[in-house]
Amino acid sequence: MAELFWFEKYRPRSFDEVVDLEEVKVRLREFVKGGNMPHLLFYGPPGTGKTTMALVLARELYGEYWRENTLELNASDERGINIIRERLKEFARTAPVGKAPFKLVILDEADNMTSDAQQALRRIMEIYAQNTRFILLANYVSRIIDPIISRCAVFRFSPLPRHLMAERLRHIAEREGVTLKEDAVDVIYELSEGDMRRAINLLQIAAATNKVVDGNAVAAAATAVRPSDIVELFNLALNGDYLKAREKLRELMYIKGVAGVDFIRAFQRELIRMSLDDEVKAEVAELLADVDYRLTQGADEEIQLAYLLARLGAIGRRAKPTAPPPKKR
């Protein structure tokens, strides 16, 4: 199943396979050689190799037993610190298999935890320090509380430079029997913003229809992964068809499971391409920022998004005075 997605199929399995991050590798190698290490904090934007490096480290530490000795958790998927505590208790109960004296906990999206939860996490890290080591993964180090940072060796992950991304993409294309044109690499690099996972996804989708991947094929692939149904919702709302927009919103929220923030992000990306007056764009941008905030504060996402759709309709109507006037009451 992992083979289905190329980013997983070609995820580096050893230090040697990692094309970048030389300083990180040097220090992690030392830990493996010494058989001991502190807690680690990897931070950086998405798709820069944090998860990959954590998994590589696990393989290098434990060899074939890496799965038994590693617990992967995601802070935003586990419901609360108590669930995390329970799963840890279970995991840390047994001794590590193999020669390493500790087990490994990889906690992804640690910066999505509230500072209270992070305080609790800090205590948990201390309690299990005897036989576990944590690798915390985060996008923003500023959202990690100081007491945790001070307990970790901190590593920064930066977006891949263009030539290394190109090298990796060519390697994958070759193995998959795909011809990769130079302009395709440019477009992928542009669209992926240094996010390796996104870059490989684009390549894979483009390659699904074309054996020769060029810039156009990549652009088409980018359209294919655009959340077209959310874009459709955006247009419905701006055209002032509130009731239809609401129906679509509910379908996306409750059947497709789209989260509130994902609507805002998609709208925001779409806004730049829309043919609207700049004044209107500014007004919509302000509205999106406001609703994004309200979503973080509110209790009911649909209420916040209902407000967004209605306001978009009102803005859209004002922006188009040529549209047929509303029926007289």
């Binding site: 999206e109 692939a221 992964v225 009731l243 509910r250 499971g257 306001r311 009102a314």
Partner: protein
């Protein structure tokens, strides 16, 4: 009039406490065997001899609200001329605070020539495990070491977390008061207030109090408020009918058709008003009522802000702020600028969200299974699968039917169902 009647008519002596004879005997006997108490009092109340009584280090009074748990202790202190050191649920009850208050009370000698001191921990079942950190342990420590009587009250002492307290204490159960006893007390209060109360009226109050004397006296005070001197059965019926059960349709109608802010806001005082339900129904009805987008967005703006308040209240647990949220959700939604004249009959639809959620349970469950599976196997978060990888998957599946078949096999979900998820 400043004093609530439940305080004004709180029994001053043991004899005045109604309908709890058994509990009074037990409590008095415990005091008389273990501590210093006036001879006449012990001769009258404290004659029970029992190993269980004489060995208990503390007493835990248990019973439903309003049956006289706290009152008995107050009356006892008065009877035996002890100074009462009291901590109740409204105090912070961390270990530190408990030791501080009780310690100070026990150290300082009384000014008024009391014969001793009595410690009362009121409503110990209100002890919060997290906020009142170590509170339970501190109480136990005081029971073990203090040389003075310690009494506690609780509605439900059988909560497992009270096990250590129960082991140390004599549990004395207070029973629910009978209707007749409640009526008797209410009669006395009526006389005390110089009011003429029909027996049937008092009986009706007593019946709905379900043995909670405090609730009954509060109700009586409400019926006789504003200096009224007569209470009849009709009064109770009239007041009772003032708040009939309203359907959600009627509630919405009152809100949208309210002529001014306060009229809409007042809907929240209706006993059948359920604010959580209201938010869902308001969400559904706003565009139906206002139709015009400008008005609709103003009303939604208010509902959205009210929902923000609710979100914050839920996080901080500051429920005393709820009125602000409700005010905005009712008055704010009702009173929008340039509000049109509403038709006499508005067809409020049943919230489609509730129907949709019920109808799509299976689909959502399958979708969650797929997302969880992908997140686990690809070492990414579920939110990344939702926001990005599901679209990648659906683009891949479009050109390669193989993809869906493989997922179908791994997940045990039929491939048509998976196709519908993408």
């Amino acid at each position: 009039m400043a004093l609530p009647w439940i305080e004004k008519y709180r029994p001053k002596s043991f004899a005045e406490v109604v309908d709890q004879e058994e509990a009074k005997y037990t409590l008095a006997s415990w005091i008389c065997t273990r501590y210093k108490a006036p001879r006449e009092f012990c001769a009258r109340w404290g004659k029970k001899r029992d190993k269980e009584i004489s060995e208990a280090k503390a007493v835990l009074l248990a019973g439903p609200p309003g049956v006289g748990k706290t009152t008995i202790v107050h009356a006892l202190a008065k009877e035996i001329n002890y100074e009462l050191i009291e901590l109740n649920a409204s105090d912070v009850r961390t270990a530190e605070r408990i030791k501080q208050v009780v310690g100070r009370g026990l150290r300082e000698s009384s000014l008024f020539g009391y014969g001793g001191k009595l410690v009362l921990f009121d409503e110990v079942d209100g002890l919060h495990v997290k906020e009142d950190l170590g509170g339970l342990e501190a109480i136990i420590e005081i029971i073990e070491t203090a040389k003075v009587p310690v009494v506690m009250t609780a509605n439900n002492p059988y909560d497992p977390k009270f096990r250590p307290l129960r082991d140390l204490s004599l549990v004395v159960n207070l029973k629910k008061l009978s209707e007749d006893e409640v009526v008797e007390v209410l009669k006395r209060v009526c006389t005390g207030e110089g009011a003429k109360c029909e027996e049937e009226a008092l009986r009706s109050i007593a019946r709905s109090s379900l043995g909670d004397l405090r609730a009954a006296i509060n109700d009586l005070q409400m019926y006789l408020s504003g200096g009224r001197r007569v209470l009849t059965v009709d009064d109770i019926k009239r007041v009772g009918e003032r708040n009939p059960q309203l359907s959600m349709f009627e509630i919405l109608d009152r809100v949208y058709k309210a002529r001014w802010f306060d009229e809409a806001r007042a809907v929240s005082f209706n006993p059948s008003f359920d604010w959580e339900q209201y938010f869902v129904w308001a969400l559904e009805s706003i565009p139906v009522v206002y139709k015009e987008l400008e008005l609709t967005s103003v009303a939604y703006d208010r509902l959205s802000k009210a929902d923000m308040f609710i979100g914050r209240i839920k996080r901080t647990q500051e429920w005393e702020l709820l009125p602000y949220a409700l005010e905005l959700a009712l008055g704010g939604v009702s009173q929008v600028k340039n509000k049109p004249r509403l038709p006499p009959f508005i067809k409020y639809g049943f919230p489609q969200r509730l129907l949709l959620l019920a109808r799509t349970k299976e689909v959502r469950r399958r979708r969650e299974t797929l997302i969880e599976y992908l997140a686990q196997n690809l070492h990414v978060s579920q939110s990344l699968v939702r926001a990005e990888l599901m679209y990648v998957l659906s683009a891949l599946a479009r050109h390669n039917p193989h993809v869906i078949e493989r997922l179908s096999k791994s997940l045990g979900i039929n491939s048509l169902d998976i196709k519908n998820l993408l």
